[in-house]
Structure formats: C-alpha cells, structure tokens
Subunit: 262 residues, 3 copies
Amino acid sequence: MTSPGATLRAIRERKPLVHNITNYVVMNETANAILALGALPVMAHAREEVEQMVGLASALVLNIGTLSPQWIEAMLAAGAAAEIPIVLDPVGAGATEFRTETAHRILDTVNVTVLRGNPGEVATLVGAHAEVRGVESITAGLDPAELARTAAQRLGVVASVTGPVDHVSDGERVLAVANGHQLLATVTGTGCMSSALTGCFLAAKSDAPLEAAAEALAAFGVAAEDAASGAGGPGTFHARLYDALYALDPATLGERVRITEL
Amino acid sequence: MTSPGATLRAIRERKPLVHNITNYVVMNETANAILALGALPVMAHAREEVEQMVGLASALVLNIGTLSPQWIEAMLAAGAAAEIPIVLDPVGAGATEFRTETAHRILDTVNVTVLRGNPGEVATLVGAHAEVRGVESITAGLDPAELARTAAQRLGVVASVTGPVDHVSDGERVLAVANGHQLLATVTGTGCMSSALTGCFLAAKSDAPLEAAAEALAAFGVAAEDAASGAGGPGTFHARLYDALYALDPATLGERVRITEL
Amino acid sequence: MTSPGATLRAIRERKPLVHNITNYVVMNETANAILALGALPVMAHAREEVEQMVGLASALVLNIGTLSPQWIEAMLAAGAAAEIPIVLDPVGAGATEFRTETAHRILDTVNVTVLRGNPGEVATLVGAHAEVRGVESITAGLDPAELARTAAQRLGVVASVTGPVDHVSDGERVLAVANGHQLLATVTGTGCMSSALTGCFLAAKSDAPLEAAAEALAAFGVAAEDAASGAGGPGTFHARLYDALYALDPATLGERVRITEL
C-alpha cells in the first residue's frame, strides 16, 4: 500500500545518502532535487572510489545520459558492490546502439531494483517497437500499462514508465500515477530528476519498491503542479520546482497523490 | 531575406533534433534553451556513438569550452559524419594555443556552416590582433562588421560575431542584429546558448545559413529583452530567459527583430 | 584589517580572471557566482592547456568534487605552474580514501593559499575525528575555531571552515564570520561557490589572504541574506543569490559584514 506522506517523513528524518553516477547535463539539477526533497546527494564516478562511496549510500542511481567507457565501468563496479536499491535510467536507449547495449549490460549484470524510463526507452529494452529521437520518446508500440508490466516481467525489475500518466509495475500489479504537469516536458532533466527522487523513496522504503517508485513519481508530480501555479514558463517553473519539492507536506501528500491500481 | 517568425514556426512544428558536443559548464543551459525555443536537444560525446547520433539530428553544434583530447576526437568524428548544418563555437580561442589549434583543426577538417564567436575569438582565427582573457573577448583589432566579412571569406563559413550589436556575414553581405540586453553578459553560457539556437534555426532553414544565423541571434536578443523586463539581476534574468524563449511569438517576432543589412 | 567594500570595488574594477578546475556539478553555478560578483571565470581542465590558462589568471580554484585521475593531474600541473593565490576545496575528503588522499596530495605538492571546506572535511585533513556522509559534514571532533587554527598551523594554509558561523585562521588569528542564511544548505554547490568567491577576493587582495578569505565568506553571506528575503524556497533563493551578488554595494558592505576576531 502506498503511504507517500510517511515515506517522505522518513526521508526527511533519516536523510539517506543517494549516490548518483549520472550524466553531465543534470548533475546539478538532480542533486538539487534530492536536497530539496530532504535527502543527501553525492555524485562520484571515479573507478577508484565508487565502491567505497556506494558503501556509504542508501540508494544508487545509474543514469546513462552522457556515456563514455570509463563511466560504464564505474557504473558496473558500483552496481556490483551495492547492497542497496538501485535505479537505472536508460536515457536514450533506442537512439544509439551504444546506449541500448549499455542499458542491457547494466540490466544483465547489476541487480537493478527500478528501471525508470520513457516509453520509447523501455520499449526498446523489451524488444518492442519504439521510435526514439535523441533522448525523446516519440512512440512506443505498446500501451504504457502493458509496457510496464511486460518490462517488469522480462527484465526482472520494477518498471517505472513515465509519461502524461505514469505506469509502475512489478510484473503483476500496475500502479498508475496521474500527477504532474506539462511544463515538466519543457525542462531538460526532469525525467532524470524523477529517477533521482525514486532513489530517495527507495532508500526510505526498500521493502516495497513498487510502492516507493509510484510514490516518488506522485510526489514529484504534486511538486510540479505546485510549481506550475504562478510560473511564467519553463525557467521560472524550474526554479519553483525546487521550492515545491522543499515545501511538500507529508501531512497532506497522501490526499494529493493520484495513484490508482489498474 | 529574413523571416524569423516563419523559421520559428517551422522549428516548433518539426521539432528538429540538435546534437550538441559542448562544454560541461553550459550543457544544461543550452539544452534548456533549445527545449524552450521548441526544438529537441541531445548531448552525446562518446566516440562510440557520435556518428550514429548525428545521423538522427538536423544540426550539429560543436563547442570547445571545456576541451580534452577525447572530446576533440568525438567532435571531429561527428563533424566528418554529419550531412547537416554544423555550428562551431570556438570558446576561448586565443586564450590558449590548445583552443586556438583545436578550433583551426575543426575548421580545417569539418564542413562548418556557421562560426559563432565573440570578436576576440573570431579575430584570433583570422590572424588579426585580439586580446582574449579566459573566455572573454577584450579587444579585437578589426571593426566587427569587417571582422565578420573577413572571417567568412578566409574561413569559408558564415561568420556570426556577437557583441553589443551582432554582425553576421557570408563574406559578401553583412547583417547587423541590434537586439539583446546587457544582462546577457552577466550570465555564463549565453554565448553558447546563442550558438545552440543558431543550430535550431539552421535546422529549419538550412538553405539560407546567413539569414538563419541572424534570425537566431535576433530571436535570442528579443527573448533577452523580454527577460530583462522585470528581472532583479542575473539570476532571475537567467530563469526568465527560458520563459521568454518559450513565449516567443512567431506572429510578432518579425516586427521585433532589428536586423539591418549593412 | 578587513575592508570588504574596498576589495569588492577592486574586483569590479580589475575584473580578475579566476581559473577553476572544479567539479561537474557546480561548473555553471560557480562561473555565474564569479560573474555576478564582478570577476571573470574560466573553466579549463585539459592537461594540454592548464599551465597556459593559469598564466592568464589572477587566482586558481581547485575543487575535488567529482574526481578522476586525469583531473588530478591537471590540478597538480596547474598548481605547480601557478604564481597566484590558490584555493583548495577538498569536497568529500573523509568520505572516500581517494578524496582524502587527493586532498593531501594537492596540499603536499601545491602552494595552497586557502583551504576552504566544511568541518568534517577539514577535520579529516588534520587527522581529527570526523564523520562525513558523502559530501556533507555530520560532526567534527573539534570546536570550529580551534579546528581552523589547527588546520592552518598543520597544513600551512589559511583555513576557512564554513558552517552556521564560519571560522578563518592563519594559524594565529581567528576571524569568525556570522553572515549567511540557512537556505544555503538547501542548494548544492553553495560551498563550492564560497570557494570560488574566495578566489575572487584573493585575486584582489593577495597580500592579506586571511582577511580576503573572511571578506569573501562575509560578502557571500550578505548576498544570501538578501536572496533569502522574498525567496519561496531553495529554487527561487538560488536564482536570487546571483541577483544579490550582482547587487552587493561596496559602499554599505562594510557595515553589513559580521566579522569578529576571536
């Protein structure tokens, strides 16, 4: 059962350290989202330190948005060493073979807890038809709820497929999350932020990754709704998004989330 | 003939993918500028994927702001594979030999469509006297209109020289762009943003690179004028700049641009 | 004697170039803080150019927030070539051996002028007990004033230990700086910004590094106080922080700083 307010309260009390090996584009923004929510971010990618750093952390977030071979090695090493929940964000899988293969390599060798991607990326990884343009998903061959369920079953993960409505599945159950705002699509890295926040929720609720993943997306969506109110466009929305994450109220979050089981 | 409103409308309809191999400082900001304008950004620098990624794109933007040898190889490989318009931003050319030589190497081996730089950088590349301090242009030995024309002729590009008034030349004609705001100089990466937006305009108007480059600078300048109105300083101006790019109106853009042929 | 208004005026008149070899997370933000204050930032990390770039600069800022071996080599090379004040920000020292060893390696081989860190990082480097979680300092075994004095003596630097109250020492004198705002802790990279601004103040006051370091923290703290007034949370505070740095008034800064000698 989802209890986003309680999970958020736990995050703010425990301040879990979330280790990110992520892309250059969103490092600052995902760190700020994690901080604004109430957890502690750390970015570390050196092969020399990732195992030790992940040993201090409560969740690991791997994001392939700007790849290079050394970073892949670091992701695999951190993933192998991690005894904590792991989120994989397969940014741009389907756009290039290098990204698709890297996402598969991580899924094959790392114990990924939650795969958080857009429909095109996730469809690519289950072998369904998808059209991906750069890092944007254009179309996916499957209904998103079905896609989430199929991905969870085939890849052995909780699949978290984001879109106008998000769908999260453990292979049996499917939770739909209807929070969010269209301005999210006008700011780069909001998908990456949702993966980072998924790491925070998993850190505080590691025994229920399906629920934790859905709660993370719902909380982020509620914050986006708050940020959009009064925003003048993508730039002021972006600044207000951190304000809204910081202001999320555990006492009312449960009433505001729109999570339904399909 | 310039028709910035029509070009902007085309960008928003076609949503061209713009592939950036750019510096670490401005990755997020240039991606957000491209998104706010209405195109799709992708950042990818791995030698293993740049050729495939550039094959999906409608423009390529190369920016040498934070160089290393692997990135130069990726830029050259992407540039060689690209059959699309290419923008080069020679950040810091003139400050170090490494940057000057790299800019020349790209110009010599890649089919650069538009060179977008500040007067010091462009003057360095044509062998004129210039004083560059870090990535800031202090003085250039030539009048900017003459500098743009000379650079275009000698380097075989459309030269886009930005400053209080921008000058864009194909070696024969020179267009001056008088839009913009002094707050642009207080935010890092606004030059890089103008290069990224030049890529967007080229993607939608590849048959007229002189006009596309001037329209890009004019549109960015109009957005800066809008963003400055009500800004409290560099930080709120920066946030409002994305709002203003997003709000640019194709119907009125033509009346607001101040492009004159010299 | 501290004279922050005069130093700020000198920064804005001379516009010193500050060379940063820093982490990916804060490159944009520290560059913008330097620009907003009135100096000129440059980011350059290639082994091929750091010596030439540092030769153009008036201060060098080394920050180990996202390390890799090549970057360490660049920091050491730039540090060896520099004949200007050098700031070291030992981000995450104490969290991993790689970071602790790298910070020591820089301190041992580079003529560091100011070490700017949080209590856990600085305590780690003097061998005192510290608890560091990722890049956050949880506890340090020493009183911060004593910690700053001890670090300065043992490491041969001006030690600048930031916290709710900052303590800066040259090993004999200790200056306490009481400016600042709690929202600084909700935005990533504000510690890194304080190191970058320390570089700016050192560039303009290289003969008095103790005072320059304290003035930098006080000026940043005053800006944070201004930014917090009217901010809706971390995101709008962050944007307003650049506005506030830009608006710092040399004529009144001296009255607003709260620097006391212990």
